[in-house]
Each structure stands twice: as structure tokens, then as C-alpha cells.
């Protein structure tokens, strides 16, 4: 049915119409080669509502999210511009937001970003002039035709604004803080959320139950990472806070004769399990974009 409503993006439209939305994350290469991005994007054609581009993920210097999103847009894809507050102060953040809008980018995901010391330039100054809540507030302010100092803009940009939440926070304090911060993000204009990667559907369901109790009614995309190996699972359990791969899944990856098939089976199974409870999924393929079509071939 055509309600005549105008949408900023396909992603907004899918979520508003209650379709199960799919975003896939790609990480730009370390260098000026565009082919890798083009190839990854081609695998996602016809599957993803949005291609979500990381912003110097894990604090590793590489091709930027804004440039990559612009390329994707030019090639006919719909990008989701991830923006961390780690590397730019409020002048650069506002300017890049306006730049993104002028390049046709509408979906923006506001995140804080990993600390500088985890990456490949640990000597760098961590900026964090704004936090992720303030970045959402900044977008809202720009949309009202003003910059953060109250100066008028010649024309106001408009964004479909996203944010991140972690359903797997491991302590009472960390969990409650996630809920509080999620509410603050919504108050400052967040229109959709993607979650930290989940492997345990029960943990995700409990989180969604909590949101229902809190009367939080914003679309949530369940975060899913393609689990490539036992080693990757152990690494994430050890080093990636808020991510927990249950033992049986690790066992499965360890004993399988076909890692790719098992990986696809796990991801599809997880998405099928959480599908009734959320608005969509956000997939991190980590280089295995070519297997994404197979993952979604199994989605009921």
C-alpha cells in the first residue's frame, strides 16, 4: 500500500513498513584500492537494504567511511555512514555530516569508537570532543538549520539516524547503563539501533523483553557476525567485551569438516531464531561477503 509517506532512505522505508531489514557491514581497505569494496558490495546486491561502512574500525587507519559511502552511492547502493567521535572534533564532525548529506548519504550511525590504543596508531591523540549521544544531538541541531554555535545554515541536511546498543553487557551496572544510554540516544533523535554481535538468541530475547517493559519502541537490528573458526570464537570471548560465543557453537566450528557450511548454518539459525523479536539484522561478514547470499537463502 502506498501511504504517500516520504522516506529519506530504503532502510527507513523497510523499517517503517515492518519488513525485516538487512544491513551488511563492510570495512574499507587499507589503501586506495576500490575493487575490494566493489566486489563486496556486489555480493550484497538485492539482499541488503543498506551497506554499513565502518569508520576506521578498531582504530586502524584505512580508507574513510565517508569516501567509501560516496563510492557506494555512486555505484547505486544505499550506504549507512558510520561515524565515530574518536578522530574528529565538533567542527570536522559537523562538516562531514553536511558533506555526507550533499553526497546523497542519508543513513548515519553514531558511535563512540574504540579507543586509539587498540589500533595501529596507538600514539594518536584520542579526540572524543563529542560522545555518541552528543553526535545524535548534533545531527538534530543541523536538521533544524543551525550549527552547534547557533549559526544559520544555508540549507539544513536531514538524516535517518542510527545508534548502537549492547544486549550482552556482562554486569548489572553495565547492562543498566546500556539501557539508560539507549534511552538518551532516543531522546536525542536515534531512529534505529543495531546491536553488538549476538550468538545466544536467549540473551537477545531477554534484552528485547526488557525493551518492551521499558516501552522502548525503536527498530532494533540484531547484530550477527559470521563465525569463521574456533580460533575466532575464542579470540572474541577473550578480547571483545560484550560478545560471548557459547561452547556448543565453538565445538561445532571445531569439529566441522566444512567451516563455510557450518558458519552459514549458525548465522542462518541465529537469524531465524531472533527474527520474530526484532526489526531486522545487521551482519558483519568480515571479508566473507560472498557467503551472505547463502545465509539469507535459508531465512524463513
Amino acid at each position: 500500500m502506498n501511504t504517500g509517506k516520504k522516506y529519506l532512505s530504503k532502510l527507513e522505508k523497510s523499517l517503517d513498513e515492518g519488513k525485516f531489514a538487512i544491513t551488511c557491514e563492510i570495512g574499507p581497505p587499507k589503501g586506495a584500492d576500490q575493487e575490494e569494496i566493489r566486489e563486496a558490495a556486489e555480493y550484497l546486491k538485492g539482499i541488503a537494504d543498506g551497506i554499513n561502512v565502518t569508520d576506521l574500525q578498531s582504530s586502524v587507519m584505512r580508507l574513510g567511511s565517508l569516501a567509501t559511502c560516496t563510492l557506494l552511492k555512486q555505484w547505486g547502493y544505499e550506504p549507512v555512514f558510520q561515524m565515530t567521535t574518536r578522530d574528529r572534533n565538533r567542527l570536522a564532525l559537523q562538516s562531514d555530516l553536511i558533506s555526507a548529506y550533499t553526497m546523497g548519504i542519508r543513513n548515519v550511525l553514531a558511535i563512540t569508537g574504540d579507543y586509539t590504543t587498540v589500533g595501529d596508531h596507538p600514539q594518536a591523540e584520542p579526540v572524543y570532543d563529542l560522545d555518541s549521544v552528543q553526535l545524535l544531538w548534533t545531527m538534530k541541531t543541523l536538521e533544524e538549520g543551525k550549527d552547534l554555535s547557533g549559526n544559520d545554515l544555508t540549507a539544513a541536511p536531514k538524516f535517518f539516524k542510527g545508534a548502537v546498543v549492547n544486549p550482552g553487557a556482562d554486569t548489572e551496572a553495565a547492562y543498566e547503563l546500556q539501557i539508560i544510554k539507549m534511552k538518551k540516544k532516543i531522546e536525542q533523535g536515534a531512529q534505529f539501533f543495531q546491536t553488538q554481535a549476538i550468538f545466544d538468541a536467549e540473551v537477545f530475547k531477554r534484552f528485547m523483553d526488557r525493551l518492551e517493559k521499558e516501552k522502548i519502541d525503536v527498530p532494533v537490528l540484531a547484530g550477527v557476525i559470521l563465525l569463521k573458526s574456533k580460533g575466532m570464537a575464542n579470540y572474541m570471548n577473550k578480547f571483545v567485551p560484550g560478545v560471548f560465543v557459547p561452547g556448543p557453537l565453538i565445538e561445532k566450528m571445531d569439529t566441522t569438516g566444512d567451516k563455510v557450511a557450518t558458519c552459514i548454518e549458525i548465522a542462518s539459525g541465529l537469524i531465524n531464531e531472533v527474527k520474530p523479536y526484532c526489526s531486522g539484522t545487521h551482519i558483519q561478514a568480515l571479508g566473507w561477503e560472498k557467503h551472505i547470499p547463502a545465509v539469507f537463502a535459508n531465512i524463513k
Binding site: 563512540t112 584520542p126 570532543d129 560522545d131
Partner: protein, 225 residues
């Protein structure tokens, strides 16, 4: 000497708007030298608060508010006055507000902004750290400074990087926002976490040229006329 300046009275009244009774506490150390402390200043604030309908349950000056053991012992005989108050208004640098918050089960509102440490970190070397940001919000964060307790200086809640309540930058370091959460929970003030804190004004870090012309800034500078 640690340099502090008065917060505008409007800002103090705004932060005290939920309070009916307030206990006033001043540091007898640096603020005395910076003209932001002393009994006269504290009593003057008492009058101002009373004029604005806020009762004052007591006034005390303690040397020094950066030492938690000293605050504890000096406040022992004043327990009733503290208990009668909804909150405490503290005239000290950020270290004093943090140390006071750590030992008093009430919200401690900063009455001053800390501008510069002038090379030293408190008369008493404690665990508290102040960023001399000139924009003190310690009463909104349970007396834990988000600028020094969180490496990302986040103002509206934690990142998702903590594991087992420790910081993503160092597993030996407490997550500052978990400390803030626990402190506000202890005070029954978790709702304060819902308040949106706008980005800080970095201009306030720079001491004004008027201040830099005075003896407060450097003893060997001529006092401006």
C-alpha cells in the same frame, strides 16, 4: 595553589532547584588564597541561599577537602546537620568535591569551577584527579569526574567496551561510568543519568587574560589596576 572561580549563582540555584535544605562546606586550603573560600564567602552563600528559599543546615570550613580522612573526622560531630540536608554545596577544587562525594552519602554540588592546578595536585595526594576544565559537573556524576575517570571523556554514559566492569583501555582500570553508576545508585540518584549533558566548552580551560594579569596567576606579575 589551585585556582578556582565562583560558578554563577544562577547555575548553582539551578542545580539546587530540587533541594530544600543544603549543608555548606568550604576548603580552607587553596580557595582561601584564590578568594573563593573562607568563612565570609561561605556565610555570604548561606545568606544568598536563604534569600532564595533554601535552608542551610550548617556551614563548615575544613583544611583540606582533598583529604578524605580529614573530612570524615571533622564531619563526625556535624552528622546531624549533614543528615538534615538534601545535599552539600562544596567550595573547593574538583579534587575536594570528589573526595567529599566519596565520604558523604549526599550529592555534593560544586560551587566553584577549577581553572588550573598551577603545577600541583592538591595539598593531599589522593586518588581523585581533576581536569581543571572550568565546567564542573561532579554533582551530576556522583562525584566521579567523567573527564578523568573515563579515557574517552564521555559525558552521557559509557561506551560498550567495558568487560567485567573494567575499562577497554586497561583491564586493571575501573570503568569510570560503572563507578559513576554505583555512586549515583548509592545516593539514590540514578535518574540523574538521564540528564543530557551538552558538549563541554573548551574555552573554559583557558584562564582569562584578566586572571593572567593578577598575582593569583603568578606572584611575579603586577596586579592589574
Amino acid at each position: 595553589m589551585i585556582l578556582t572561580e565562583f560558578k554563577p549563582i544562577e547555575e548553582i540555584l539551578e542545580r539546587l532547584k530540587e533541594e530544600k535544605v543544603v549543608f555548606i562546606m568550604g576548603c580552607g586550603g587553596c580557595p582561601e588564597g584564590a578568594n573563593t573560600g573562607g568563612m565570609e564567602v561561605l556565610n555570604d552563600m548561606k545568606t544568598k541561599l536563604e534569600e532564595n528559599g533554601i535552608k542551610v543546615s550548617g556551614v563548615i570550613e575544613i583544611d583540606f577537602l582533598c583529604q578524605k580522612a580529614l573530612i570524615r573526622s571533622r564531619l563526625k560531630p556535624r552528622k546531624q546537620e549533614i543528615e538534615a540536608a538534601d545535599s552539600v554545596l562544596v567550595f573547593s577544587c574538583g579534587l575536594g568535591v570528589q573526595a567529599s562525594s566519596a565520604v558523604i552519602d549526599k550529592v555534593c554540588h560544586p560551587a566553584l569551577n577549577t581553572i588550573t592546578f598551577g603545577g600541583i595536585t592538591g595539598m593531599w595526594q589522593g586518588t581523585e584527579r581533576c581536569d581543571t576544565c572550568g565546567n564542573c559537573i561532579l554533582d551530576l556524576t556522583g562525584g566521579i569526574c567523567p573527564y578523568t575517570a573515563c579515557p574517552k571523556k564521555l559525558e552521557n554514559g559509557p561506551c560498550a567496551g567495558q568487560g567485567n566492569d573494567m575499562c577497554e583501555t586497561d583491564p586493571q582500570r575501573d570503568c569510570g561510568w560503572v563507578l559513576i553508576y554505583k555512586s549515583l545508585k548509592r545516593l539514590g540518584q540514578l535518574d540523574r543519568l538521564m540528564q543530557f549533558i551538552p558538549p563541554r566548552d573548551y574555552r573554559k580551560i583557558l584562564p582569562s587574560s584578566e586572571l593572567r594579569k593578577t598575582r593569583l596567576w603568578a606572584l611575579d606579575e603586577e596586579e592589574a589596576e
